[in-house]
Symmetry: C2
Subunit: 322 residues, 2 copies
């Protein structure tokens, strides 16, 4: 039987769990909502039960898995398997790796949600075969991750890749982190929604109407896609502005890190694809110090779908528990 | 006899050559001016002769050296040992590694000048014992280099660490690279000189007088030190402005790379030391996303003197020719 790994993509609102081979073939999967306000222990028990379901579908006992990876939505201390802080879960210093490992009887590797998604794209997706990759994940916030020499590079404190808080405009908007002008405050989906709402005070836009029709309280990627299809001028302008700053961010990252590839992922990129990435690529390339006439530095959208995080968590477990 | 290495710090105006042990003990050294307008072949011959002198002082034949490292002032292709472009030398696509290796009979490793200086600080200086370091070198321009897992990280194309061209202020001053708002255009010694000259049109400053007295056409580090000692208000204000932007740059680098240590080097840092670094550290820390209450991320001035580049080139040869 093929060696099997468990992978968990733990989000603030839902979780996805897979049991898969080292090649990313899914043998079993499960998933469900994350209960708001639940204790960490209750959430960990819920994760374990989903993992048991997925393992059962794959006809394997959880303690026979070669390892389990999990991506958590926050800051992690990978060496100790601790989620240092995960605001969307209300977690602080949760010993996720130890608790889950004890409950399931397999070793557990902890990463953050963006890191595991990037490992997924590197193991099975857009960045397959590259040894040096930067991931730029655009969603509620902006997260990132580095692959160096073919491995997830976590930094000295497990904090590498916090690219959402690269300063791009000193007098720019207030960021969720309390500082001004971070990339996240200029170009995340949250920043775009803020800009759309502000513009809507003075200019006609279909965005708020689409949100109402779809009973969304937030400007989701699907709302954005619909508004763009309707040629909404506010949505187009706000998106172009965010793409501009994302281009400056990617340019900075290429100048510092000199990667083979930059993968742009997250909900917006997944929904809009190449048309989202193209203007980012153009601005980024205009900032490259080292000329790249042959386009050796690739800037591409992610290609894995909803399972990228959970599959990436499997790949992380495989790599780090070798 | 101890194994000996050759190290060359090739600058636009002068070169320094050492023959040293793996521990950085100098067994022989030589140096001299770089002839302006000389052909690449003539400059390489001059380097070889200096290396022969240093080797002779160390009682070793050049072809008995374990390896030779050289730092060149420009963009290099380390795999092929080529200096892609070095404006201060007038070089384009010079096969420095092959030419020097053939001439001297020892294998040659090529890096850029800032990279070798950072390797020097890592091997023998401020960053000794660290496994993850970012170097920020402030001089005519701003250069950088990364140590990851204890090794010089050169990037996919040998272009990693071009931190001088991180955008910090989109409508900022024009940079030598033709773009606006790069760190180098805001905080290099060249940028500071531009700001002092501009201020001097309207405000009294001693800087130009000091330059005249010392027969300097440029605002060197020693001119800066003298003006600061005289409490010159323009120099103080211009320096504080550059330190502010260097702080933003270091903050960005820490958020992306999560190093153990940031070494601030180059002529200005060497001359001014801790008082130069202290305000940079303060601004940088205000930008850290991951809190660092215990000051685990050290931001320190370089400590090696004039031989850091040549000794770093020895260390690079030792590491990469192992």
């Amino acid at each position: 039987m093929a060696r099997l790994y468990g992978g968990i993509d733990l989000g603030g609102t839902s979780m996805k769990v897979v049991v898969a081979t080292a090649k990313g073939e899914v043998a079993g999967s499960a998933g469900g909502p994350t209960t708001p306000g639940a204790s960490a222990a209750a959430t960990i028990e819920s994760i374990a039960q989903h993992l048991e379901t997925a393992a059962s579908l794959a006809s394997v006992h959880p303690d026979k898995l070669k390892g389990i990876g999990i991506g958590a939505p926050g800051a992690v201390d990978p060496k100790r398997g601790i989620v240092v802080t995960a605001p969307n879960l209300g977690w602080k210093n949760v010993r996720l790796g130890a608790a889950l490992g004890k409950r399931l009887g397999s070793p557990v590797v902890v990463g953050n949600d963006v890191q595991v998604a990037i490992v997924g794209e590197h193991a099975f997706g857009a960045a397959k075969g590259c040894s040096r990759v930067v991931g730029v994940w655009v969603g509620t916030g902006i997260g990132g991750g580095l692959i160096i020499d073919g491995r997830l590079d976590r930094g000295a404190r497990g904090a590498a890749g916090e690219i959402g808080h690269v300063l791009l405009k000193e007098d720019g908007p207030l960021c969720g982190c309390g500082r001004h002008g971070c990339a996240e405050a200029l170009a995340s989906r949250t920043a775009m929604e803020r800009d759309v709402r502000e513009a809507a005070r003075n200019v006609k836009t279909s965005v708020l109407k689409i949100m109402k029709e779809r009973e969304k309280t937030r400007m989701t990627s699907s709302v954005m896609a619909r508004a763009l299809k309707a040629n909404d001028p506010v949505m187009k302008r706000v998106l172009a502005n965010a793409q501009h700053y994302l281009g400056l961010l990617v340019g900075n990252l290429v100048n510092v890190l000199d990667p083979e590839m930059v993968v742009i992922g997250g909900g917006v990129a997944q929904r809009l694809g190449e048309p989202f990435v193209q203007p980012i690529r153009e601005v980024a390339r205009s900032r490259f110090l080292r000329p790249d006439p042959d386009g050796k530095v690739r800037i591409e959208p992610s290609i894995l779908g909803d399972f990228s995080g959970a599959l990436g968590a499997c790949a992380l477990a495989k790599r780090e528990l070798r």
